[in-house]
Symmetry: C2
Subunit: 224 residues, 2 copies
């Protein structure tokens, strides 16, 4: 039997790279995306296209509008402006407990599917300062998950794969380019337009653009 | 400033008791319930009534139909029969990763509200064998939560209060009766009717009925 895994797929460049990484490792893949009222809705269209191109077994888009409704983030609350300068320790684009909620759903779906392996594109180097992207968070979630489910209690361990954790943005882009990732399909911009074209000014655009330059890879991003 | 907390409120007898416990401790309360396509929808009506009677600041009912859609439980999948005999280690009424998902939302809302305290009515004695009701799960979730959020990283610790953890069902009922909980408002039955009346046969009804008998408290449950 072929090995199976879930990949968390936002439609951004990191998760697209993780998807390609898991494909190369010959996993039978299930893709999981979330609609939480994020500004960059075109990310979800990118996720759909990436999942289709990778021939995943199933792609689920979970409606998490309730998470966006709780507020507290520039990504879901139009009253908070998206920053264009960077420099904050944890920026207003942080969504409260986002990765905890995402991974909880992945844990639930993994148990239903009888799968123990989940891939997520978190990164502790060129990240935006989000606490739930750090290796200590990933380790603690794994410990908790292995106490949480019937599957774990009955001997099916839960494992999180974070192949990008220690890579710089430039290393991620080089790795993805070697795997054949078409980054023009991916959306990173916090305020991309309906066609998925990037603003070129927000924190996320800045990190992405600097990443291409540092990697020495042509920036295929579509800008407004 | 008065202290504030979130209470997870299912509408069952355990969470009703926890709510009364938190009220007695003089917390300013926010109630959190979940609609995940559970069979016992009348539980949610009970939760609304209990929250209203306790004069909570706000009661949120989060739509988690996506969790029910993932399947894997007799509580959300009509193709799986609700058991009436008990005896299994972990019964089919188990919902994959339910408490992990519930607590993740509580963590998100707590951060948005600037609150660190969350009450949950888990119980490791007369429980149904669910792994995510055990103290080791609660401890691991707390460790993870304190690494997950901006609030925790910036010095607002996250604490889970589990006042029922070590109580038998009979002790819970005696404790709640002393606090004035009206158990006729609560719904425990896995297949309660639209008016919240209990079947009297399922695992949950059995535990509840035995609890009243052992507590020496009149069983005010409304049966079909």
């Amino acid at each position: 039997m072929s090995k199976a895994a879930i990949v968390l797929l936002s439609g951004g460049m990191d998760s697209a790279t993780v998807l390609a990484d898991a494909v190369q490792q010959d996993y039978m893949l299930y893709a999981l995306s979330f609609d939480y009222g994020q500004r960059h809705f075109s990310e979800l269209n990118a996720a759909r296209l990436l999942a289709q191109n990778a021939r995943v077994v199933e792609h689920r888009v979970i409606d998490l509008s309730a998470l966006g409704d709780l507020g507290g983030s520039a990504l879901t609350d139009k009253a908070i402006a998206v920053p264009e300068h960077g420099g904050e320790a944890i920026p207003v684009t942080y969504v409260p407990a986002r990765n905890t909620v995402f991974l909880s759903y992945a844990l639930a779906w993994a148990e239903v599917l009888g799968i123990g392996d989940v891939f997520i594109g978190v990164n502790a180097v060129d990240y935006s300062g989000y606490p739930d992207c750090r290796p200590e968070f990933i380790r603690a979630f794994t410990v908790m998950a292995n106490l949480a489910t019937k599957a774990a209690v009955q001997g099916q361990p839960f494992r999180l794969h974070t192949p990008l954790m220690d890579m710089t943005k430039a290393q991620i882009i080089r790795h993805g380019s070697e795997l054949g990732v078409d980054y023009s399909l991916t959306v990173s911009c916090y305020q991309a337009d309906a066609q998925g074209r990037a603003c070129g000014h927000c924190d996320s655009c800045r990190l992405r653009s600097e990443g291409f330059a540092a990697a020495g890879v042509d920036d295929s991003t579509r800008y407004c």
